[in-house]
Amino acid sequence: MTLEEKMRMRSPWIMHFDTGSCNGCDLEVWALLTPRYDVERFGAVNRANPKQADVLLVTGPVTKRCEDRLRNLYEQTPEPKLVIACGDCASTGAPFHNCYNVNGGVDKVIPVDVYVPGCACRPEALIDALVLGLSMWREKVQKMVGEEGR
């Protein structure tokens, strides 16, 4: 692993977005930042700003009202980026599947890299997803660098 790759892997900045969740998964996402799970030891900080974020943590089924906002946030996040769908609702729509006001999972609107199961998803599972996501991110970075010919 080169120094540049190491730097990228050691500093994933998080942005959390709620697309209509019941607040269960949101609390688990926030638990990540508390002393018990402390993802800051991996270099992750909550920036709440798409322009400065690397990892989008999306919770909840994507309601039709939220669709444009989610797409907007995704487009404002600079490459290389990572999208993690946290919880059953964000992954598939779960009980809200086929509701008239809901799109289903996050992947109906923006491409998703990692799905985290659970209702609500466990913080341990979220940490696992982050670690898995970072290894995928590395591949993404290498592909991006290859495309740009840098």
Partner: protein
Amino acid sequence: MEVITYILQLLIIILAPLAVGLGAGIDRKITARMQNRLGPPVVQPFYDIGKLLAKRPMLLSRLQVVFAGAALLFHAAALALFVAGGDLIVAFFVSGTGSICLVMGAFSARSPYSYIGGQRELLAILAYEPVLFLVVLAIGLETSFLVSGIGGGLLIALPLVLLALIPVLVILLEKSPFDVPTAHQEIMSGPYVEYSGPYLAIMEVARWFQLAFVFGLVTLFFWSADPVVSAGGKLALAFAVLFVTIIIDNITARLTRGRMVRFMLTVGVGLVAINLLVLFVIGQGAI
């Protein structure tokens, strides 16, 4: 001898912001330990800068980048002037211009969040610049305005002035109770909100240069004839001041912008004034 001095000065100009970055890492680690967390590695700020530089740039307006570059240049120039033994007042004003460039950069983007951040940064400048200026004046009146002419005895003569520098550093380090420009609970990144990737890294490095200048002012307070003792004492004093700001950060909540300005313009200015008054009275008595 001359050449060695130049090389040493150049080394300090390059190493001082890196030391501030390391200080930021130590700060995050100590804060985490105080909150019973493990915290990121000490070199985390460098990882962040490296990652930001490697991100794909997203440009909002060219003017914004110009201002980011200008802020970096002015802060670096202020530190260079300081290290080269130049005039403290000139270095102070050059550093102040760098701060204004940060605000102009925030205003040059068409974004309400960036505007709020810029306005708040202006208020922060209004709060800390008068105190910083009085600190510079007090140091100059006590010994010399030229950094190269400043000798020992500042800590004994001006203890309250050093105390007045601590809230200034609290504002500059964006720590509570005075983290008004980048209020984390509501506007998150303040004046930096529209910067991303490499441009955010430029702003971050500019801030490191600015902090290196202010920590340089702190190191002036310790002086010894022995260069090794002098350097060690200066580092220890700078770290002690950093540690005090970390403790203040962890035991306080953010105050409103009005209270920040009021505190700095009364207590901050008052501390420097009392110190100078006492010095003046003692000086009169000696005569």
